[in-house]
């Protein structure tokens, strides 16, 4: 959700440039120096207990979403569980309550929520990652052009972003959906991408501009490296740290955005489930059966929280200078 948080949380200075990349030039890309940077970051990350716990929960959630619909039965342990089709309607089982058969109860159509939460999660997480990928890809493209070329073009491109920043997130996404005309996976991804790619563009531009001033860039230029080589070999690899953090800052924004759209009835068409549309379904009878609303909502909250913690942990790991006193 946090347009601002994404920017605020990112280091303004490049992560450990001096250590990692200053040595390269002849051995451009410098695998050895980079390996030590990433190894270093890895050690710092795994010392951060909250971030590690968040990463583990995150992986478990992803595995649950991926594995449950296919491998419902765990032999020897949960053999009583049947292989439920997440979209199978059975009115005799509506709101069946918690049981071994239905660990997460069932909804008003008698659809098993344990299986449905898993497939809904697949959609939510997939939209999250795919849209994040496009957001970052566009951001890198736009931001590196603006930052690298600079001057008037940069100015014009940034003014254009200023105007885009004026457009409110949700209406922008809704209008994009209306233009596309359908509400499927692709449409949702496009709408959420279109509505929120500018922050990443701004971040990348800021990074490129700071990195451009480094000595190794000047050195590369002095030995006659072409502009694309400087950009691709020297500048972009150094934005990688920031981009990895940005994945986990962007993911919650997209997942929540999808949930909001679904919740106000503009999400993926039923019967395809996403966590947002499941919460919307649960709204019908939340007074009697709150669990139908609570389970997908808690899943969203857990995922978002994990992503936030992971992003914080990664930021601290990749750039110790920005670490808050703790």
């Amino acid at each position: 959700m946090a347009v601002d948080r994404r920017e605020a949380a990112l280091p303004t200075a490049p992560p450990a440039v001096g250590v990692g990349a200053a040595v390269d030039d002849s051995s451009a890309g410098a695998p050895i120096a980079q390996a030590s940077l990433w190894k270093d970051a890895w050690y710092r990350y795994i010392r951060n207990r909250a971030a590690v716990a968040a990463a583990i929960v995150f992986i478990i959630m992803v595995l649950y979403c991926l594995l449950i619909p296919g491998f419902w039965r765990i032999p020897g342990i949960w053999t009583s569980l049947k292989d439920y089709d997440p979209n199978a309607v059975d009115f005799s089982q509506a709101y069946a309550g918690f049981s071994l058969d239905h660990p997460f109860s069932t909804d008003k159509f008698g659809r098993d929520l344990f299986a449905r939460t898993a497939v809904g999660g697949q959609i939510s997480i997939a939209i999250g990652f795919v849209a994040t990928f496009f957001i970052l890809a566009i951001g890198v493209f736009y931001g590196s052009i603006a930052g690298f070329i600079g001057g008037r073009l940069d100015n014009a491109m940034m003014r254009f972003l200023d105007a885009l920043y004026g457009l409110p997130y949700l209406p922008f996404a809704i209008i994009t959906l209306a233009i596309i005309g359908t509400q499927n996976f692709l449409a949702m991804t496009i709408a959420l991408t279109v509505a929120s790619w500018f922050t990443s563009a701004r971040i990348v531009r800021g990074q490129i501009i700071t990195l451009k001033e480094n000595d190794y860039v000047r050195a590369a230029r002095a030995v006659g490296a072409r502009w694309y080589r400087i950009l691709v070999r020297h500048l972009l690899p150094n934005t990688l740290g920031v981009l990895i953090i940005a994945i986990f800052l962007e993911l919650p924004v997209v997942v929540l955005g999808e949930a909001f759209l679904s919740f106000i009835g503009l999400g993926i068409n039923p019967p395809t489930a996403s966590w947002g549309s499941m919460a919307q379904d649960g709204r019908d009878a939340y007074r009697l059966h709150p669990e139908v609303l609570f389970i997908p909502s808690l899943a969203i909250a857990l995922l978002v929280m994990c992503a936030n913690f992971i992003a914080d942990g990664m930021r601290d790991a990749l750039d110790p200078r920005t670490r808050e006193t703790s």
Binding site: G166, L167, I175, A279, T325, S326
Partner: protein, 312 residues
């Protein structure tokens, strides 16, 4: 300073024009002619007349010019779905309610979020700090529709403390019905402010001038109040503008859940009714508000932190 403000204000005009242009071009991409949706077959002549009345027979840039003229003269045109109402009527009805909701949400955030951040920063790693940050992490993650429904379920339905929905009519009228929606909307900014202020405070407290102030023998209260607090609240002021976008997004959902007839609810209804002039009017209105809020914050930032005047 005056030149900075003038330059910044003048710059806002092309940004607003560009925002309107973007919205305008996007709305044109949506398929469908507003006059061909009716069940009755509209005769060719009437169709032509209607198109002429709404300038639909002119090229797009002329239509854009008409629309811009409308925006600057506060006339957002007729509603396409509600025959007797104009977009202005819709805005006049809905906007004060949404504005009140948003302001109350900010109030929650400032009254609870900022002090929580300050107290947490004064005693880092204390129990209070721990709980404030835990609360802030949760506030970040919980989707506002979930918070809203949770509140309705427990506070309104189970214990019956406040009504489940509704909204007082007058702008300055407040009653128990505003508590839940504004809190649900304010939770995110609250968490955000708490974290932001805490981070800024901790950073400021490590500055040299704070050490100097302490070394001079200033009293703790004076160091915190005069040197730390003043400088740490600047980020909170700057954050108001980007937060506004989130608050607006939040109002859409909160108004939907609590059945508050604000612009967010009108917007959602208009999207499903294909009432595009209302959709466009509300989008343009919110965009202009965001642009103006950005302007205001930039100027405030320039006043509070003179170093930024030239850089921007």
């Amino acid at each position: 300073m005056t030149t900075f403000i003038i330059r910044r204000v003048v710059w806002t005009i092309p940004v607003i024009l560009l925002v309107i242009l973007m919205t305008f071009l996007m709305m044109r991409q949506i398929k469908g002619n507003p006059f061909r949706h009716t069940e009755r077959n509209v005769p060719e002549a009437i169709q032509k007349n209607l198109e002429r009345k709404f300038h639909l027979d002119r090229p797009w840039y002329v239509q854009y010019a008409y629309y811009v003229e409308g925006v600057f003269t506060f006339d957002l045109g007729p509603s396409m779905a509600q025959r007797t109402r104009t977009v202005n009527d819709v805005v006049r009805d809905g906007f004060p309610r949404s504005l009140k909701l948003g302001l109350l949400a900010y109030l929650w955030a400032i009254v609870f979020g900022v002090p929580a951040g300050i107290l947490a920063a004064l005693k880092p790693n204390s129990i209070f700090d721990y709980f404030a940050m835990l609360f802030s992490s949760i506030g970040f993650a919980l989707p506002s529709f979930f918070v809203a429904t949770l509140l309705i379920y427990y506070v309104a339905v189970k214990f019956g403390l406040v009504p489940t929905n509704g909204w007082p009519t007058g702008f300055f009228q407040l009653d128990s019905r505003v508590i839940l929606p504004s809190f649900a909307l304010g939770l995110f900014p609250m968490a955000y402010f708490a974290r932001l202020v805490r981070g800024a405070m901790l950073e400021t407290m490590q500055q040299d001038y704070v050490r100097t102030a302490k070394a001079k023998g200033l009293r703790y209260r004076r160091v915190i109040g005069l040197h730390v607090l003043r400088n740490s609240l600047i980020p909170a002021v700057t954050a108001t503008a980007p937060l506004l976008g989130l608050i607006i997004t939040g109002t859409f959902v909160i108004e939907f859940i609590f059945s508050i007839p604000g612009i967010g609810r009108y917007f959602i209804n208009s999207v499903s009714n294909r009432d595009y002039s209302v959709v466009m009017g509300i989008t343009v209105l919110t965009s202009v508000i965001i642009v103006i809020a950005n302007l205001f914050v930039d100027i405030m930032y320039g006043v509070l932190d003179p170093r930024t005047r030239e850089a921007r």
